[in-house]
Symmetry: C2
Subunit: 225 residues, 2 copies
DNA sequence: TTGTCGGCCGATCGCCGACAA
DNA sequence: TTGTCGGCGATCGGCCGACAA
């Protein structure tokens, strides 16, 4: 999973520490948020927080829901000298904005998520993310080839039509909605990387529990997406 | 799961020993037929077979495939005296045939399993299992309420029509076929218990492996169905 | 600019008798 | 008696512009 795509799916509020950065690990918070109770048996003493050094970062996506998450490997850090504030502020160098992929997120309306319907493409998304349409033909239309976070290819018909004119995704859209089990309130993220390739990521709304369908969050420590 | 329904689904060739009966347990056969390798670490010595006494019998049905199977609990049996032949021939007392439910099995034809089609009901099945139709109305038809091995209710329209006249299941049948993923060659078993309630069980043909869909048999010792 | 609606057209589903094995 | 076929009517999916927020 490409880092720029992962970041676009996770959103701007998700910050990932750099490998080698110092962070605080809170066992209680880990236990409260993890789906399966973590194994704390190797902890030598009970403390509220542990100063750690980031050993490894994995950027992953759920096979089931397409939601992105990260696995952060930590080493306990024994302070010989007082840590410098800079040690805490290290974040992954994404090339100072310039290598970041261009992305656009939209919350699905009932019309977007309805079976019978297509997807209303906000103008900014069509202009900045999608390839330019050929407006010399009527109606202007093209097939979009996009990949989800697992690398699976999807094809959508992108057309500019109606009165007033607007951008729409039609053919291929409902198959995507059904396959991903999207509902109104979920978000889709369209991403264009530096090579011009298109990706589509998902964010899910909080679901009502108690239904038979169970979508389990991974039991790892993860940064919120 | 009612025993008479289980027996009808399993078929006449499936014989179950009675609790208390003596049986031979073959570890090698168990290992060869089980999906997951059994844990033989508690076996004190290596022998080809072990004389055992049946401690418990569970009659079960696969959640995934509706196929019935049994879990047989065994205790090692130390022979103080030579076992009598009668000890081996004990089978579950089903009330000497008289309490056994009436059942009829049919292998699905391509027409039965096709999406567009209904189910051709053999005359014997309609006459002996289904409730009598009211032939004074044209066409004679009724709704059948049946339960699968999990107790889930299904409804089929049973109609007597066509030239020449024949019994058919129409409305509701294709939903059942799709939901159970039935294909030509699979069998359905219609069962009427003593109370007149209808049940429907399944037997699957040997599937070609290697497909992405994996249907795992339970890893227990079971009697073949 | 874009969310929702009703219209409408084509594809599919599924019920039917004809016919033959 | 019952398996398969083609016909055909009902239903559904999904593309469309109209219109209003």
């Amino acid at each position: 999973l490409d880092q720029s795509v992962w970041e676009a799916c996770a959103g701007n509020s998700a910050k990932i520490p750099a490998v080698g950065a110092l962070v605080y690990y809170f066992p209680q918070g880990h236990g409260e948020q993890a789906y399966a109770a973590p194994d704390f048996s190797s902890l030598s003493c009970e403390r509220a927080e542990y100063l750690c050094k980031v050993k490894e970062i994995q950027l992953l996506a759920s096979e089931e829901t397409d939601e992105v998450y990260s696995v952060v490997g930590l080493d306990p850090w024994i302070s010989r000298s007082a840590p410098s504030p800079d040690d805490f502020s290290l974040t992954e160098d994404t090339g100072a904005e310039k290598s970041r992929a261009l992305s656009f997120a939209k919350i699905l309306t009932p019309s977007d998520a309805n079976n019978g319907g297509g997807f209303s493409v906000p103008r900014f998304c069509a202009d900045s993310i999608f390839p330019q349409l050929d407006f010399s033909v009527e109606p202007p239309a093209q097939m979009l080839n996009v990949r989800d976070v697992h690398g699976k290819a999807w094809e959508f018909r992108h057309i500019y039509r109606g009165t007033p004119r607007r951008h729409l995704l039609t053919t291929g859209w409902s198959k995507f909605v059904n396959s991903k089990k999207l509902v109104a309130g979920d978000s889709v993220v369209f991403i264009k990387n530096k090579a011009g390739e298109l990706f589509i990521g998902l964010r899910r709304t909080a679901r009502s529990f108690g239904s038979s369908g169970s979508s389990h969050a991974p039991s790892h420590v993860g940064s919120p997406s």
